[in-house]
Amino acid sequence: MRPFEDATAIRERVLAGETSVESLIARTLERIARIDPEVGAFRAVFADRSLARAAQLDRSLRNGARPGPLFGLPLALKSNMCLEGTPADCGSRILAGWHAPYTATFVQRAIDAGAVPIGTTHMDEFAMGSSGENSSFGVPRNPWDVARTCGGSSSGAAAAVASGMVPLALGSDTGGSVRQPAALCGISGMKPSYGRVSRLGLVAFASSLDQVSPLARSARDLERVLGAIGGVDPRDATSLPGPFPPPESRRDLAGLVLGLPAPFFPEGLDPEVQARVDEAVCLLEDLGAEVRPVALPALAHALATYYVIATAEASSNLARYAGVGFGGRAEGDGTLAGMMSTTRSRGFGDEVKRRILLGTYVLSSGYYDAWYGRASRVRAALADEFAHAFSAVDLLAGPTSPTPAFRLGERAHDPLAMYRSDILTVPASLAGLPAASIPCGLARVGGAALPVGLQLLGPRGADERVLGVARLFQEHTTHHLAEPPLAGDEAQA
């Protein structure tokens, strides 16, 4: 069994008796021990717990139990997800040592489908960042070039899959936090339609935008995970009714109209990214799609709209971290208010504080309507524009990230430059659309070959259409099979 096989292939080998789950998990733990010092993806590894779970799954298979869609598959969780009794610190000092008191709906569904939670991964603090550098505990490195970022905020989750340590990971995507790292690390990631996956047990950043989103080595694996964890949850009022839609099977793209929004190809787009995406669109055309330009003028305001709305929601959601209900506490000046201020000031990192301040400002009286009110109206207009566009096209396509992976530290001291990393992913988040990023080739940057991601967006609720086209694209390409050059693998070879 090769470490870079996708989850579907690994599961087939387990069911064919080529390996036991226990042996698979033992090899996964061995690979994490060998590769993770180079990549730094994992925050915690549940060695004993996952081996015990593997033995239990082997017994259940021997006893004739029907294997679930994720049977025996190692699964990494982002550190903002609740698995009872395990740490969920969200990459923040303020939650250091905090353990989840219950298991999230989507984690429980993955377990019920046979997955083996193997550990938690590093992330930007409270999912606020696009490079993984805003973590209090560790910054993952891109397996394609360890001097570069994995993207963020699901940085460790992407690095863990891209380096072949695990075939599957769950991340959260608020403004692109799964799609952008998937693109920069050369793997597949998908943010489903808002509400397709329950958010119960996902620590909130911006509740109207947050979505649990899988990272995998293929689009067929994304289908497999979303089919298992998606569907209505009575304990999440924002979850969409019904189960996750069944996969859409396509032999070609005849009859499909693919829109190319001009704002997805801005002037500053990296020429190598442009070239790889152009090649991908040509292939989709060869498969039968009709390609049309699409005008979406409101996209010009998407980044500002996103950062006003997301920070406003974050400032409210993070008000609960005040040294009382969760996490650590600093003494302060002896008063209750002083204890809260000191706890928050010492517990939060710079980017989180910056966003709390920005969010508090745009919600404060005298500024509310000029900022938050205006952003809410632009968001509604943007959703209207998307709905209008989807009356004429079936899918939209463009790059996921305007550049390939940038160097660690390159944008760390320039918040605006970092925010602009999200410019192509925030539109789908604001409109609640399903959007996937799949590998579409490598960009030559200096001496490095760095992955480029193709982003596919569908109408809200049409997740199966996005996945069907992504899957067909991968049946006709090999970009998703590319393996990064890891020193740990070369040393063993």
Binding site: T305, R354, L357, S365, V378
Partner: protein, 105 residues
């Protein structure tokens, strides 16, 4: 850098219950200025943008909001006076809850 921007950062930090050291305040004020300048394009957003409730565009009502001022937190003793009495029993510490109307059990 304008002093009013620094004052704005300090006032916002007080609302958010965050302490801002003098040098941190100056840095945050500079960053605020850049970020807000970059986001001013929102004011030129799409014409006819409907409001969040989906009603057609019209004259925008004057928002009626309370002033945002950090309130001094009540003294903890005042809060604790209203807390239920603890009872120490064989199963641990329990909090006594006053009987409610209709609760005859």
């Amino acid at each position: 850098m304008a002093d009013d921007l620094l004052a704005l950062v300090r006032r916002t930090a007080a609302l958010a219950r965050l302490e801002v050291a003098p040098e941190e305040g100056a840095r945050l004020a500079r960053e605020f200025e850049r970020i807000l300048d970059a986001f001013r394009s929102l004011a030129e957003g799409p014409e006819g943008a409907r409001n969040a409730q989906g009603t057609p565009p019209g004259p925008e009502p004057e928002p009626r909001m309370r002033a945002d001022l950090p309130d001094p937190f009540p003294h903890p003793e005042r809060l604790f006076r209203a807390a239920p009495e603890p009872h120490f029993g064989p199963t641990g510490t329990l909090l006594g809850v006053p009987k409610t109307v209709g609760d005859d059990a």
